[in-house]
Symmetry: none
DNA sequence: AACTAACCGAGACGGTACGTCTCGTCTTATG
DNA sequence: CATAAGACGAGACGTACCGTCTCGGTTAGTT
């Protein structure tokens, strides 16, 4: 929490992007959003807190949405998906980890991205792409289930993935991230049981 | 939707709310949102279009969120749920009708409510309540399915309902309302099949 | 100054002016101006404090200026001018009493009348008339001086009166009402000595 | 006063005050006050007429009073006082010139300054300082008269100066600037004659 | 070694919207 | 018909941010 106060001021490092400046701006934006809430988040406030000029921000992030997306992706951990060999367990873990990750501040950022996407088409497009990519990743879980014979071969793995994502979004957007392991398991059971072949 | 242009100007009708004014404001707000998009929607612009004073708006709708909620509820049709006796059909119809309803302008309004709820806790609370109420209504679909023996008695009807709602929200918020009847049926099948008892 | 609070609410007393209402409005206006300052004075605030309807105020005082003038005249004492037989003494007393009177709250009201007159021609006209009348009254002081042979017969008594008034206004409008008897006497001397005939 | 209409729009010239903007704002404010009267004068209207943003005005003139004072001082001519060697003539010229100056639009501005000072203490303080300074300048007239032996050495030159100023204010504030040279001379005579030593 | 080019901070600028205040008018319900 | 109440259209208040612009200073690469 202690502010160094040593650096005094960042300067240009020549005709190229200064990484320290970019860091400082992302740090400031993230801190503002998480510590002071969404209404405190504005380009003006970010510039103030980062001790950066507004044009510097606009140079690299032409809109609020791009800045939010950068904050989110910077903090995003590499992989969330487990592969335990048991689909129900994999799904349970996926839900648990995603919600847990969102509880730790990242959710606050993602909520704002979704909100921004409702006003700005460019952000919407980026969000749509991101969601599609996540759907492919999570869909792999179900594809493995099909391969193992756990669930019916005519299952749509991406629709199943979307249903999980959608539920998580819904909880996030209605501020109901108080989801414990038993509830995650119940969700997994209810989603998967229907997808199972009759023999299991 | 037809603009009379005859009335010239609304006046006070004494020390009580003038219904014509309220109508005009809601009309203006709805039209702005749907015709000119979310960025054009501001209290200022609503007042201008409705030829109303800003304090008149703030008197009755203390925040942007309350105004959005009023627009949404004013245009909301009474009932969406069918009762055909077949759960899969009921679910298909529910999805189809909800998405269809949202395609007709109401979705634009609801998206903004969700976005606003990410910034304003009061709106979030209202949205949470509304979602819970909808969950209870849609849950009744599944309760009937349990009663009929179509699905397992240990099914959580409100979780099932939430999954449908969540999927619809997700499509709305990523601007993917191009959902036809076959896709609605596939969703219904994938949700319900798992909920069915083994005998069916 | 004590607020009764007993009457709870004044009602119409039939098809005629209710004196209690007028009193309450003037009381409220005066109290607001003196207790809370000129910025707190507005028709809105007066109505609130007097528990009166705004139209009631507008019915009897069509503008802010007329209300201010009524407040001022209501509290105005009958006569200020002395007749001691000595002009210098009469002038000294006039200045002393006028300033003293203004120090006691009335000055606050009169300042606002002058200010209002700079914006509203109707108030300006009323103020002009009032000033002319005062000039005639104070001029009589100097006319008596001429009659007594104290000052030159070609003296303009109304110009002399205006100079005294003007000086008092100037002190009031620059918030310099800290004028003691010696200073009043010095003013009187400086004004009168020049007006005296050579013999005195 | 000529409106170029060529410039299209003023822009920022970097992190420093743009003189063209300041000029345009003062021009607009002065023109509004003189051409359309005091009720038309508002920060909003000034911004509109100057094609300036409201924050730009508030940045440099934190209150209405400071803006009015700037308008007045911008148009103020350097010196008003003559030194003819004859006190009565000097006084006559002072009155004549001051009133003449005020008749030409500046009076309209000064009236509003006085009015504003009755509501806002900051403006009042500035006005008080200005009046004191003017008193010192005009007082010099009478000091020269004392030095020349024209008037009594125990005369208070600043009180005499204040009496002239006060009379001018009084005429301005009651909209009676129709003062011709004979009247100015009569005032000068009435003021000075009394101040003269007996020998003259 | 001088020059160019882009970066950086700062902050002014024209705007728009915010949410609040007062204006003066209107209508009702109550007496 | 006077009154209290308060809704209404209008518009000004002073503030916050928007996105753009120019400035002066910095540092790297290119001549």
């Amino acid at each position: 929490m202690s502010e160094p106060e040593i650096d005094e001021r960042r300067r240009s490092i020549g005709a190229r992007r200064n990484p320290a400046t970019q860091e400082a701006i992302l740090d400031a934006a993230e801190a503002l959003l998480i510590e002071e809430g969404p209404t405190a988040f504005s380009i003006e406030a970010v510039a103030r807190r980062a001790r950066a000029g507004k044009p510097t921000i606009y140079r690299w992030w032409p809109s609020r949405g791009t800045l939010l997306l950068d904050i989110y992706h910077r903090q995003k951990p590499a992989v969330i998906h487990a592969d335990t060999g048991d689909l129900k367990e994999d799904v349970t873990l996926f839900i648990e980890r995603l919600i847990g990750y969102w509880r730790g501040g990242a959710g606050q950022v993602f909520r704002q991205i979704v909100a921004e996407a409702q006003r700005d088409e460019a952000t919407a497009e980026k969000l749509r792409e991101y969601a599609a990519q996540r759907r492919r990743q999570t869909g792999a879980l179900f594809e493995r289930g099909i391969a193992r014979g756990e669930i019916a071969p005519d299952t749509d793995p991406f629709l199943a993935a979307e249903m999980l994502s959608a539920l998580a979004w819904h909880r996030l957007l209605t501020d109901r991230l108080d989801l414990n392991r038993p509830e995650a398991a119940r969700i997994a059971r209810q989603v998967v049981r229907g997808l199972q072949t009759r023999e299991n």
